[in-house]
Amino acid sequence: MIRKRIIISLWLIILVVLVGCSSENNDVQLNTIVYGLTLEPSGIDPHIYQSAELGIVLRSVYDTLVYRDPETLEIIPGLATSWVLSDDGLSYTFSLREGVTFHDGTPFNAQAVGANLDRIVDPETASQRAKFMLGPYVGYEVIDEYTIRIDLSQSYIPLLDAFSQVYLSIASPTAFNEYSRNRYQFFQVGTGPFRFVEYVPNDRIVIRRWEDYTWGPTFYDLPVDNSVEEIIFRFFDDEATRLLAIESGDVNVMGELPPTDARALGGNSQVQLLPVDVPGQPLQFMFNTQQFPTDNPIVRQALIIATNRNAIVDTVFQGFSSVAWGPLSEGSLFYNRQMVGVYEHNAQQARELLAAQGFVDGDGNGFLDAPNGDVEIVLIVPPWGRVPQVVQLLQDQWRDVGIRVQLDQVPNFNLLREAVDAGEYNLVSFDTPGIDPALLNDYFITSGVRNWMGYSNPELDAILQEAVVIADDSQRRLLYLEAQRLIMNNALILPIREYRNLNATDSTIEDLQFDAYGWFPILNNVRLTTSG
């Protein structure tokens, strides 16, 4: 009896082992690479979600109406061959490319674009980003099979910029109508150079080259023999394994290396470091102008001056990034170069500024006194962007001028919002990447959804609102230069460093380039080295 049971269990064990050992095999030999991402299980529908990681994959599955040339930053044709802005600025008419089909055979035309717009603005979709990129969108009209007019309630110049981004990708209406809002992300269909094969949350995303692709933008090369044909994306949450995974040959490309590991890479000839600037807002902290003591602009200035940003960049970012001085990074449009050097580090000056505002250390405990106890600054610290490391230096640098820092660590965006809504903070870290400075509006206009500074300034509101209405670039430039100056004059933010994504490739990869937005690789042009 007992023996029989033992034999049966032994058989079961052997069976389990055998089943597990049988490995999957591919019939066709493809040029396959493995690409390491930092994505944790989350949604990857570009119309719904807002992560930059989803774009790394989907930029090559979809086309957009227009593209931004990575060299000149000009808007160039994509699925739309040309476009006309009406004189009153209230409508854009796009002429669409003919002969394009989605990967599922659905023809691409004006109705398809319309269906995409309908999906994005549908409240059921609950779009986190795409909907807001459309600005004052009111609707569209299909003029003919290959012409569509998009109507706005007021002039909105950044619309073309929006249509060049992956979040406004054109997806196959057949596909997204077939699946529910949540299911579509697993069966995505676009017109891009790669087709979507599968997404297993927590495990992998696979895309494969679409042989019939002929309608790419000018900077897409034609495929050759050694062009990459299949890309398997894998996820590496633990940053300590990222460098190890590329050194061991587990992946061929790895994004977001920790800066110390990128520094250590110098001696490795097998692995190349590929730093890419990401335009948009720098890593920044927003001052809460409604909370003591950061309601005082001089205190805010003193805190910026007390911050040694060079030290932060040199240690936390190992010198790979440059110090940020204003609300925009150098790669963004209309960047104000005059901001460089404002509020340069000077601990003594910071102490004097604080003393002039009546903050002194009367009880000699090393910290400045407030009406009740010591002056204390509360920082909301999210886990991303290496903010947890940055704040450790801030804490010590500000202690130096007599400011006590209290850290409020939040594990995710949800709890960051809870903390912001509670209002008991002095600084919170958040920022958005992008090329057109229209992204500043969400933050610095009184009614902006990310106005976590609680700041209201009619002058700044007027400038930012005007800057998205005027078509003339030189006028926009003047407005944004002034906006950046105003923001820094009022010391609304503490900019830390400009974003630079540290990617690495191994020796099998040739020609990995990134698009104008810095986050997204041009996978179409990636080739394998032809040594083998």
Binding site: V16, P123, A126, R129, D203, F236, D238, S248, N412
Partner: protein, 303 residues
């Protein structure tokens, strides 16, 4: 036997119910949820958020939600994940096989290693005893993510013998299984060692010695049989360790699986997914214990 079964089924169901209930209310104490977070990110108004939460039944009184959840659970419906939107059951199905496979392989390897190490640690030969003791001590005292990192650096990066990641092929399993089983085997070996030491001193073994039986024979015939019991129970106890160990192992080796799913689901406050995972882990825990109990009965009919 029949009575044994009925009693077990009832106690299993009560245990499950209790675990699910505690989890349900524990999660509801947290502020916010994944849906509100997504909608806030989408810049939705207060009214839209309330509307969406209404549609998902999240605004009902908590008792009502609880009753609804239990009714659906009994029908086998665990709801949809709030972050990814897939049915929880499907998500668990996608992730269960890598974890089960990792856990089972680990257990088999760990039992073999643990028993060998435990026997080695009571060996008459000083050298073997010392080496085994050292390994056992390391296994129970070093944090798993630390040994894991060393393992990756030595075997995947420097020697390039095994890959770090990958799922499905046997080679990618070697490092994670070695890591987990190393730590589990320490605990098993310690119990084996303690029991063997006790039994060695026990009177009936002395009698066996006196009868002139060989050391080998004594060890296998008597000692091992009796030492089996506590080993079985420690294996059931190691289940909890195995689960938290898989969370870390899956993160270290970037493997998919239930451990990393539980981690991200809890952090994202994805209630239905966390609850589904608790139902599953609780069931597995109870089954493991039942099997252990059953094996104990076979090994020692006196119980």
């Amino acid at each position: 036997m029949g009575q044994f079964m009925i009693r077990n089924v009832i106690s299993v169901l009560i245990t499950l119910w209790f675990a699910v209930t505690v989890t349900f209310f524990m999660l509801r104490v947290l502020p916010g949820d994944a849906i509100s977070a997504q909608l806030i990110q989408a810049g939705a108004t207060e009214a839209e958020i309330i509307g969406q939460r209404d549609a998902l039944g999240l605004n009902q009184p908590i008792i009502q939600q609880y009753v609804d959840y239990m009714i659906r659970l009994i029908q086998g419906d665990m709801g949809d994940s709030l972050t990814v939107g897939l049915p929880v059951r499907l998500m668990i199905q996608q992730q269960i096989s890598p974890t089960i496979f990792l856990a089972c392989t680990t257990m088999i390897v760990a039992i073999i290693w643990g028993v060998l190490l435990g026997i080695g640690a009571v060996s008459e030969a000083t050298f073997i005893r010392r080496v085994c003791q050292l390994i056992v001590n390391l296994a129970i005292s070093t944090p798993i993510y630390w040994t894991g990192t060393l393992l990756i650096i030595i075997f995947a990066v420097e020697l390039r013998w095994f890959p770090i990641t990958g799922n499905g092929n046997a080679k990618s399993l070697i490092l994670p299984v070695s890591l987990l089983s190393f730590h589990v085997s320490g605990a098993i070996a310690r119990i084996v060692q303690i029991n063997l030491n006790e039994i060695k001193r026990a009177s009936y073994i002395l009698v066996a010695h006196a009868k002139g039986l060989t050391a080998q024979y004594i060890l296998y015939r008597h000692i091992f049989r009796v030492a089996l019991l506590p080993i079985i129970s420690v294996i059931a106890l190691q289940y909890g360790f195995l689960l938290s160990g898989t969370v870390i192992t899956e993160t270290l080796f970037s493997r998919p699986g239930l451990g990393s799913l539980l981690l991200s689901a809890t952090q994202n406050q994805d209630y239905p997914l966390v609850q589904g995972l608790v139902v599953l882990t609780a069931t597995l825990y109870i089954i493991t214990n039942l099997i252990a109990e059953f094996l104990q009965k076979i090994a020692d009919p006196r119980l």
